[in-house]
């Protein structure tokens, strides 16, 4: 009887340990596609996860940046606009926590897309970044055409839309989206929620571990 208890608790302990180590890897988010190919007469099936496609946007210094600038880094992306009276200030306040924590750490960067393609020209983004307290290029603020910005929002699984009936004129979700070196989505957090922001800070550490040499 005693041994029974010992064995089963050992077993339970093992499950707990293995579950935990499994938890240490973040899932890849998005619907996977099964692709089959032929190699030397053998059929091989791969599961392919959606990736953030290549992009090019104008940043706060009026220079073009692209997905290449985020190669070999993880990054957090979001969508906002400078005159947003609703969720953006809270979301940016929370992202600022992460920026300040990792300032100067070139393993990670930050990318905010403005969805107000009419008003948020580079000079407006520059003054916004300055006032927010962002003084290096680790956090990029970008603008682009409506089609480009709203198109890529879909890839990040963020809803964004022009809507004159909501405060500020644009409707969008305040997600902070965590991207890995392969441009896969590894986490999405409600940037207006403190707990989820703390979760993101933990998950960033877990993701960084994957690339530890």
């Amino acid at each position: 009887m005693k041994i029974n208890i010992l064995v089963s608790s050992l077993f339970l302990g093992l499950i707990a340990v293995s579950c935990q180590s499994k938890d240490q890897k973040l899932p890849i988010i998005g619907e996977k596609e099964i692709i089959t190919r032929q190699e030397n007469g053998v059929t091989i099936t791969d599961s392919v996860y959606p990736k953030i496609p290549s992009f090019q946007f104008l940043n706060q210094d009026s220079t073009y940046i692209s997905d290449k600038d985020f190669d070999n880094k993880i990054y957090v992306a979001n969508f906002f606009f400078t005159h947003c009276p609703s969720i953006c200030p809270t979301m940016q306040r929370n992202l600022l926590q992460a920026y300040e924590k990792y300032k100067g750490d070139d393993r990670i960067s930050f990318l905010s897309h403005s969805i107000d393609f009419k008003y948020d020209q580079p000079s407006v983004l520059k003054s916004y970044a300055d006032r927010l307290g962002v003084d290096n290029n680790q956090w990029q603020f970008v603008t682009g055409s409506k089609a480009e910005i709203y198109g890529i929002a879909d890839n990040y699984l963020v809803y964004a839309k022009e809507d004159s009936t909501v405060a500020g004129g644009y409707d969008h979700t305040g997600y902070l989206v965590l991207i890995d070196h392969e441009k896969h989505i590894r986490g999405a957090y409600d940037g207006t929620n403190d707990e989820q922001t703390q979760q993101m800070l933990k998950d960033i550490e877990i993701l960084l571990q994957e690339y530890k040499k």
């Binding site: 609703s86 200030p89 809270t90 306040r93 600022l96 927010l132 307290g133």
Partner: protein, 144 residues
């Protein structure tokens, strides 16, 4: 026996002070009502920009913790909440120059609740910002 008497004396003292504080309770209850409602409205309408502790955000949104600013501009606060503000201001020694949107939908009572909450919770005031004060503020500046 001695112990028994001290016990009675102490209990009487406790009861005495309890009742003494209860004399104040009318004012306290009213203030509590104002601040509790004020906090709810603050979370809905102001916290995004000014933060849950009134800390503001960088140089974009000023903090609501400058008690001197509140004192010097007490008569203008209702107008700021109702109609928003723009132009350069100095808060806690820092310059700010952005635009705060109007809150036309807020009633006089709402404004009194919110201002009581921010001036007593983030500022150092210990008095209610009454509805009469709000009405007078807005009247004096033709903002009612």
């Amino acid at each position: 026996m001695n112990k028994y008497i001290t016990f009675i004396l102490i209990s009487m003292l406790i009861v005495f002070f309890y009742q003494l504080s209860a004399c104040n309770s009318n004012v306290d209850i009213k203030k509590a009502q104002y601040t509790v409602n004020g906090q709810k409205l603050y979370v809905q309408h102001c916290q995004n920009c000014h933060g849950s502790k009134g800390e503001g955000l960088g140089k974009l949104y000023p903090p609501l913790t400058d008690d001197n600013y509140f004192k010097e501009n007490r008569a203008l606060l209702s107008g700021i909440v109702k109609n928003g503000m723009r132009g350069e201001i100095i808060v806690n020694g820092e310059k700010y120059n952005q635009e705060m949107p109007a809150n036309k939908q807020l009633t006089v009572v709402d404004i009194a609740y919110i201002l009581t909450y921010i001036t007593t919770n983030f500022g150092k005031s210990d008095v209610i910002y009454s509805t009469e004060e709000v009405i007078e503020n807005l009247k004096n500046h033709n903002q009612l």
